[in-house]
């Protein structure tokens, strides 16, 4: 039997390292990666190439979630869901290390590796890549 990577494992490559797939026929890039290009379909067989998305980009749009409909986000509101542009590829992500009133469309963001959710106190912890605003430090190191 051929080794067939599970969905979870493919997701790890995408979530951990921003791996995506590019259809070499039409040039479209998919994140998370796909086995086939939905546009080129069968013609993309053997033409899907794994590429890694840039770790810096900018905010295209975002929304602030005050209620916490997602399991594992209880008590962590408000949180920010954004579309970020990574060198022309747009992905949906969470923004972290910032407050909603500190960000604007067009702001530069950088990838960070974080806990995404955990299956309760006893379950597996899921890690992945999300984004945070790049800040220009205003303060200097203490000269005590």
């Amino acid at each position: 039997m051929d080794f067939s990577p599970s969905r979870e494992w493919r997701e790890i490559n995408a979530r951990y390292r921003l791996e995506s797939s590019m259809c070499e026929r039409c040039g479209r890039i998919y994140y998370p990666p796909r086995d086939l290009c939905p546009v080129c379909r069968r013609k993309s067989i053997g033409a899907m190439k794994t590429i890694t998305l840039p770790r810096r980009g900018e905010i295209v749009t975002y929304s602030v979630i005050h209620a916490a409909p997602l399991k594992g986000f209880e008590g962590r509101t408000p949180y920010i869901v954004a579309i970020v542009d990574l060198g022309g590829v747009r992905i949906q992500t969470l923004l972290t290390d910032c407050e909603p009133d500190e960000i604007e469309i067009g702001d530069e963001v950088e990838a960070v590796f974080r806990r995404i959710r955990e299956d309760g106190e006893r379950g597996v912890i899921h890690y992945g890549t999300i984004f945070r605003p790049v800040r220009m430090p205003k303060t200097s190191v203490h000269a005590h």
Binding site: G75, F113, R114, R115, I125, V141
Partner: protein
């Protein structure tokens, strides 16, 4: 030098949030100014609620790979030293290895030795590289240090980490004579039992019998083996549980303030990152101070207790690789202050 093992790259990471020591004192109805002057620590780094030792180790490891400019697939060993591994059983090092693209051909393990597990990992890497079993090995010291609200440790216990890639190819600093020295005894100065959330410490052991005895013995033996004296070194880096201990140890050893000052800025500004402490101190020296030909003495300390000493000679490769990634000071300066209640929320004591 061709046959010498050294540091081919390193990387740091410090969370963005800070809590002022004065604010902790206020919450504990203590005298903030007196505490600051006794510890020499002004503020500490605090992890966001979605950060832990694995995420901190991964960020530091990614920076180290970028700095070294190597293919992560060539890393044959990854060790994560910490006393705050997120899982009791399931290694942190496997997630780090996957995240930086080193998997699957590498050996991995989590190490524990209080605040010196990261330097113990460096020793293992030196051995594996020197024996030509692996080309590169990576050791990371990272922690999200736990402290009971109201405990004396709360003023300094912080979060951060640093990763070091050990190898022979193009090192920025070499371990002189491939040497490392350790001084280890059974000393119950600080511990945490399996199911306890917070560590305990034996007050009378934390000073002379623990930190000073181990650090000073390891440092002296290292200098003895190499025929060196304190003024043969340009920089000294010690484990920094606070500002006072390393400063006093450096004086006892006969070092001058200028030699230890660059690394001390780390503890002053972000507190005690436990397994990350001496490694972040060394990173700051390598970031912006060390020049080719300089010599650096580094001694870690882990309660329980032990010290690992390393004597480094900086090479001219440092000028080529420097600036490829964020420096310790970039992280120190990128900060957001939070209050005590938000801090308890970040560290999971309360969920708002």
């Amino acid at each position: 030098m061709a046959n010498t093992v050294g540091i081919v790259g390193y990387g740091s990471y410090i969370p963005r949030y800070r809590l002022k020591v004065e604010d902790i004192a206020k919450a504990n109805r203590a005298d903030g100014k007196a505490i600051i002057s006794s510890l020499g620590v002004y503020e500490k780094s605090v992890p966001n609620y979605n950060e832990d030792t694995i995420t901190i180790a991964t960020e530091a490891a990614r920076n180290a790979v970028e700095y070294a400019g190597i293919d992560p697939k060539e890393i044959g060993a990854i060790y994560v030293g910490s006393e705050s591994h997120p899982y009791a059983v399931k290694p942190s090092a496997v997630t780090v290895g996957e995240a930086i693209g080193a998997a699957p051909w590498f050996t991995a393990a989590d190490l524990e030795f209080a605040c010196k597990a990261g330097t113990a990992g460096i020793q293992a890497c030196i051995g594996l590289v020197a024996a030509d079993i692996i080309k590169y090995g990576m050791s990371i010291g990272a922690d999200t240090a736990q402290s009971k609200p109201g405990d004396a440790l709360e003023y300094t216990a912080s979060a951060g980490g640093a990763a070091y890639i050990i190898g022979r190819a193009e090192p920025i600093a070499v371990f002189e004579k491939n040497l490392t020295v350790s001084y280890t005894t059974d000393t119950p100065d600080f511990w945490r039992r399996e199911r306890s959330r917070y560590p305990e410490h034996g007050g009378r052991f934390t000073g002379s019998e623990a930190y000073f005895k181990h650090v000073i013995n390891a440092a002296r033996r290292m200098m003895e083996l190499l025929g060196r004296r304190p003024d043969d070194y340009d920089y000294l880096v010690l484990h920094m549980p606070n500002c006072k201990f390393p400063l006093r140890a450096s004086k006892i050893l006969g070092f001058k303030l200028e030699q230890i000052r660059p690394s001390l800025e780390v503890v002053k500004n972000i507190g005690n990152t436990y397994s990350g402490s001496s490694l972040l101190g060394l990173a700051r020296v390598l970031d912006g101070f060390a020049e080719p030909g300089d010599h650096i003495l580094m001694v870690s300390y882990g309660s329980g207790a032990g010290s690992d000493a390393f004597s480094l000679e900086v090479t001219d490769k440092i000028e080529e690789k420097r600036g490829r990634t964020k420096r310790v000071d970039d992280y120190i300066q990128d900060k957001i202050y939070i209050d005590y209640v938000t801090y308890l929320n970040h560290t999971g004591v309360i969920i708002k």
